[in-house]
């Protein structure tokens, strides 16, 4: 495993080269926070609690949701797509590296960069400009752990989509569809509590909510306790393991395509 660690540093440094991009991401995200603030403010007009969430909790959920969205946005699907299409994957396959682990560690570096450059500033703006309050509780401690598994799930989905390039020349449509499905069905755009009850039950068992809803609940309802959080966390860990293995199996299958029919 040790030989993969420098990849984290390398991709962190690569991200640093494009620092101007981050400036725009931060500005864009602050604008989004402003829009979300006034939108939800008007939805909450005259009401204290909607679907069990106060305005403060909803805004925390939606605002941090956008911060996590940017945190996990590493374009892994696109990068893998281009590596396959342009054949650069051959340069990794001739190294003593496993391609999935190579991608995972490279992505982790990009996530760390997003964390320091965008996610943390967004959180600071939320606390000091929009004055959101965070209740203390066990959830606050579970939040970072949950984020790690959210990353593993999100990476596996991206890796999976990127691998489709082995079969199809274009992944644009698949990527766009995936982005929409993941953000909407995961609570990344609207808190899951606002969905119809029946749908919530279905979504609970899908992997998408584990990316956003699980960590976001831990921070908005931090005081809920183990009874709520433990099953959520276990489900998330289960999904992370299932998806890592599933994308591994898909990779083994996909790599055969180039091995047998050429790159």
């Amino acid at each position: 495993m040790r030989k993969y660690l420098p990849l984290i540093r390398a991709s962190y440094m690569v991200s640093l080269v494009y620092r101007f991009g981050f400036l725009f991401s931060i500005i864009g995200n602050i604008v989004y926070l402003g829009v979300a603030y006034y939108l939800w403010k008007s939805i909450y007009q005259g009401r204290d609690v909607l679907n069990g969430l106060t305005f403060n909790e909803t805004f925390l959920y939606v605002g941090l949701g956008s911060a996590i969205f940017i945190l996990l946005k590493t374009y892994a699907d696109w990068i893998i797509h281009f590596e396959i299409q342009q054949g650069t994957i051959a340069t990794y396959l001739t190294k003593p590296l496993d391609f999935q682990l190579y991608s995972l560690f490279t992505n982790f570096g990009a996530v760390l960069m997003n964390l320091t450059a965008i996610t943390v500033p967004t959180a600071v703006v939320m606390i000091f400009v929009f004055k959101v309050q965070v209740t203390s509780g066990i959830g606050l401690w579970l939040f970072p752990i949950s984020l790690i598994f959210a990353f593993l799930i999100s990476f596996s989905i991206d890796f999976f989509v990127g691998l489709i390039s082995f079969y199809s020349e274009s992944v644009w449509g698949v990527t766009a569809t995936k982005d929409i499905i993941v953000t909407v069905l995961s609570g990344g755009l609207i808190p899951l509590q606002f969905f119809p009850e029946a749908m919530q039950k279905i979504l609970y068992w899908l992997p998408f909510q584990a990316v956003y809803h699980t960590p976001l609940m831990m921070i908005t309802k931090a005081d809920l306790g183990w009874g709520t959080f433990l099953p959520m966390l276990l489900l998330q860990i289960a999904w992370a393991i299932i998806l890592l293995i599933a994308s591994r199996l898909f990779y083994n299958q996909a790599i055969k395509v180039i091995r047998i029919s050429g790159g």
């Binding site: 660690l5 420098p6 440094m13 690569v14 650069t88 051959a90 340069t91 001739t94 590296l97 091995r259």
Partner: protein
């Protein structure tokens, strides 16, 4: 035992028969109409440790396919392939530890980072110890002045500098065998010379086996003692470069631009040349690019000045170029039985 052992190796690709136009593209979506392309068919050879072998052939000959099988990226359809006693595609990661690969068309360096960072990353990937790393970096510096490039971003390097760095990087972990796929592609003569001397030095330094694929016969002449010529997936020649050199080293192609060139000119030229020099002197006339007529001949049999004089006297010539024989010409001549 030889370092690389290949016996009756085959690689067949299934390729969709594509149809024309938009409607054709739609029908292709559901088509089961495949044809088999034999990229490599029935090749065998052995390569000993420390050799530099030129693996040459025209575009689409099957060179890269063979390299990809030797590096474990591609699985052969049938046949035996062993590198270092291991089957590459079953032991890809273990094998990669003892291999270096340079694909001339793409880089293995981190595009956005300074050169030295790529070397540091590769050092950890290949688990090169501190002492060896220092020694290797010193050697690269002596050979190509690598230190001056350490802090430069890879993307800002010239193609030649990048290639020197790429080649150095592929030797960092002291591999047993290095595959260089078109390392001089797109480079000018002086840079080519630099690259060739680097490869030569790296080969002698640690007795590294090198397999070089190239389009440029000059590369092979400068570096290899052994040459394998492949075309359409089959080996045409495998042996000493001297024999090839003796045959083709003296071949030159005289390119002339003839004023008022028309369809009959080529034929007239051909007839006149055959009449003047005789059939046995083996002069060939062909047109390979617009406006230019190629006359290929053996300097050992016909002096260049004779050919030039003859053409100048009989035709109104606008421009002249003399080039060494091309890869395609060599392959054609081997087909015609030149190497017996």
């Amino acid at each position: 035992m030889s370092l690389i052992h290949i016996e009756n190796l085959n690689k067949h690709f299934k390729v969709l028969n594509r149809r024309e136009g938009l409607s054709g593209a739609f029908r292709d979506l559901f088509s089961g109409d495949y044809k088999t392309v034999e990229a490599v068919s029935g090749i065998s050879f052995d390569i000993e440790a420390g050799e530099i072998v030129g693996y040459i052939g025209p575009n689409g000959a099957g060179k890269s396919t063979t390299i990809k099988m030797m590096t474990g990226i591609l699985q052969p359809t049938s046949g035996v392939i062993e590198v270092n006693g291991l089957v590459p595609y079953y032991n890809r990661i273990r094998q990669a530890q003892t291999m270096g690969v340079v694909f001339g068309q793409r880089t293995q360096l981190w595009w956005d980072l300074p050169v030295i960072e790529s070397f540091k990353i590769l050092r950890e990937i290949y688990k090169v110890d501190e002492k060896t790393f220092k020694q290797q970096m010193e050697m690269f510096n002596d050979l190509v002045g690598l230190k001056a490039l350490h802090m430069q971003q890879v993307r800002t390097l010239s193609l030649g500098q990048r290639m020197l760095c790429d080649i150095a990087a592929s030797f960092l972990h002291n591999p047993k065998v290095v595959f260089l796929d078109e390392p001089t592609i797109g480079l000018d003569i002086s840079v080519k010379a630099k690259i060739r001397s680097l490869i030569k030095r790296l080969n002698t330094e640690h007795k590294t086996t090198i397999i070089l694929t190239t389009h440029d016969l000059g590369d092979v002449e400068a570096l290899c003692t052994r040459i394998i010529i492949i075309d359409k997936g089959k080996i045409l020649y495998d042996g000493d470069i001297k024999k090839v050199n003796a045959l083709f080293g003296a071949y030159r192609t005289l390119k002339v631009q003839i004023d008022n060139f028309n369809e009959s000119t080529l034929q007239t030229l051909q007839e006149k040349i055959v009449n003047h020099f005789g059939v046995d002197k083996n002069l060939t006339v062909a047109q390979t690019e617009e406006f230019w007529t190629d006359i290929t001949f053996d300097q050992a049999l016909t002096p260049l000045s004779d050919v030039l004089n003859f053409v100048m006297k009989n035709f109104s010539v606008l421009d002249v170029r003399i080039v060494e024989i091309s890869m395609e010409n060599v392959v054609q001549k081997v087909y015609d039985g030149a190497l017996g």
